[in-house]
Amino acid sequence: MTFRLMINGKARTVDVDPDMPLLWVLRDTLDIKGPKFGCGAGLCGACTVHLDGQPVRSCQTPVSAVGKARVTTIEALDQTAVGRAVQQAWLDLDVMQCGYCQAGQMMSATALLTANPAPTDEDIDGAMAGNICRCATYNRIRAAIHQVAAAHRKG
């Protein structure tokens, strides 16, 4: 079946099975490798992308369910000020170990900070609980989110 998708600001047409998860349309059909495969069951968050700004697990989102929603992946994170601030905070605090989960972490963090520019630790726990970091860089992920929030407060 043919689907017309809006991905990272560009219209893309794909001819795939309607059940095919968005993750695999992105990775294998469109060669957009930023969203990562980790569990295939919506348990780890490595595949997190935004649909109209909301974080979703692309491994659990059939392509047929995307509809007209704007899809944003890590490749286009720098298209918003919050996204750029998140990228910079991740670099400033040297968050990464293996780095495999971090695209998903940054997508979730950006969605959180866009909706809530001054999250508490509890807000961070709630918004980030779906993203596993096997290297357990949680101390730095939390600090990076707070750094973005602090910069926002300063204006």
Partner: protein
Amino acid sequence: MMDGSEMPQSSAPDRPRGLDRRLFLKVGLGAGGALMLAAGLGQAEGTGEVALSAYIRIRPDGSVTLQSKNPEIGQGIKTSLPMIIAEELDVDWARVSIEQAATDATRFGSQFAGGSLSTALNYDQMRKVGAAGRALLIAAAAVRWSVPVAECRTEPGVVIHSPSGRRLDYGTLVADAAKLPPPDLATVALKDPKAFRIIGKPHGGIDSARIVKGQPIFGIDTVVPGMVYAVFEKCPVFGGKVVSANLDEVRALKGVRGALIVRGGPALEGLLDGVAILADSWWTAHRARQTLKVVWDEGASATVSSEGLAATADALSRQPGTKVLRKDGDVDTALTGAARVLEAAYSYPFIAHAPLEPQNCTALMQDGKLVIHAPTQTPQAGRTLVAKTLGLPETDVIVHVTRCGGGFGRRLNNDYMVEAAAIARQSGLPVKLVWSREDDMRHDFYRPGAFHFLKGGIDAQGHLVAWRNHFVSFGQGDKFAPSAGMSGSETPARLVPHCLIEASLIPAGLPTGALRAPSSNGLSFVFQSFLDELAHAAGQDPLAFQLALMGEPRMIGTDFDTGRAIAVLKTVAKMADWGHPPVARPGQRTGKGLAFYFSHRGYFAEVVQASVAEGGEITVDKVWVAGDVGSQIVNPSMARNQVQGAVLDGLAQALGQEITFRNGRAEQSNFDGFPLLRMPQSCPVEVEFVLSDHPPTGLGEPALPPAPPALCNALFAATGHRVRRLPIDTAALKA
């Protein structure tokens, strides 16, 4: 977006891009482990880049490309080994770019990520590689100026003639430098560590700027022309064989490009029987598994169950061990004469590695060679396994190492590599094999569980005088299964005058292997928990008891320095305000626990503060860590990150991880049944490094082992309940 240059190209030769191997100055490890230099000059086509050695290339504009020899699995080695070279070469880090070195023992010696050994084995070598490059550049400048070498010095990227103040950039000297005879690496002058500009300063991960943009740098991102996607269905019982499969039905599915039976051997570490499905997307191949029906010969392991193994262990505990690992003094007499004797049975489960990037490998035949792109911790061993299994000469197998989305010891085994290679050869197609998470968790080389039956004796003065351990583990005959053994010198052995450690082995036929801090990650829980029990039985503070056990600062054998142990224990005690009761969480029971462990040449002492709610739910409030890994922390930023991660990893193991077996199958298959730590369970981890006058050693592993027992000791302090089995049963912690 995709940039072709980011991908490992299938056409990339097994040598630095654009360099003529004939004209190469080699700096590598000789057979005896000594560094060697081979003369030669390399000049890159087009870029004007000149090779000073296998590790160093410099362009006329002074920009530098360094090779990083070992696989990057998240431990930061791709950044830190080149930092060491750059320091001694004396270049501006901002002008350095780094390439993952080709898999080539001739040029780079032994290449692997394991055992926390990369820093220990390479620190001096990388310094000499850099220093040799710097010496060549100085020599070239001295010739140019007709001045003595001794009058020249460097600043980053520049040779300076001190008396006249003349300066020459490295880029203008490199062509001359490469023609000069290489210096003797045994005597090449190294910097005074006090003058370090790069080593010891925090540096961000070299690939991080690409990671925040989602660029394709992991193994799973590999694309080669004409590639098909593969899944590989193996018998759910370890080592089972394919009898038959409905291949034609699978082949008829839309998008499926092939289905084939791959025949393997009996070794669990090698190629096993299975069915490969090839398709035009991974999801299509994966979904075809729903149609696939395989008749398996499940083999001898089909009856293995965790309950059965535990019952066997219990029965073995009533008999003497079959293998003596250590015997000092007379433990039975000492126990009889002890003022206080404690007896306890401890156990810990099998657990999985679960690196977040599932196992994957891309393989293709090209110009008569098998070309492999793989996230692997042991590319050289992988090449050997592939060559042997497929009957190819090793020279016909080329392994390109990609960044690994986690390792933790899982990718020391190259089973997925040999599978991809076999599928590519059998199908004749370029193949990207990707395992599902379920494949990964059901076909791991698990951290083996074990059972320990302990007795400890304390004399009237409160000293630990007797230690008896019957270690029931896994193996065949008297040979331990991989990573299922223990040495007879694990602390507190060698510190207790009467010590007997014996072992009994259960043959289980389960695949086991090294998980971050292998053997130590389980032993630490048992030994450091039991020591805490003994401290309490002796009426002593656990810190005082540990310090008394260490005694005077001295060497025990050739490897263990009690002085270093004492220093980290005292440091962590100060950091954690040990001796002062913690402020309890409202309505909860809160306690602090201490543990120490020596593993992988590192000394780590940790204090955990944990709170327990009425229903037994655990909150880890904070962890303090003091570690000694020698005189120099190469990259403090990554070092702290690594320690924090290792500690939280250890806590996650204790809090909930267990792989159980039934009918020869692993029962857990994804993160619902095998929980990894998540943000709400994480806690602040405060890290302090105790610098000591010893060579720098590795950090990937030694911070992990103290974490589980420190947590369990904290839970005892909070609740009075002693955890003797992992994972922790919170029901037992109810108020």
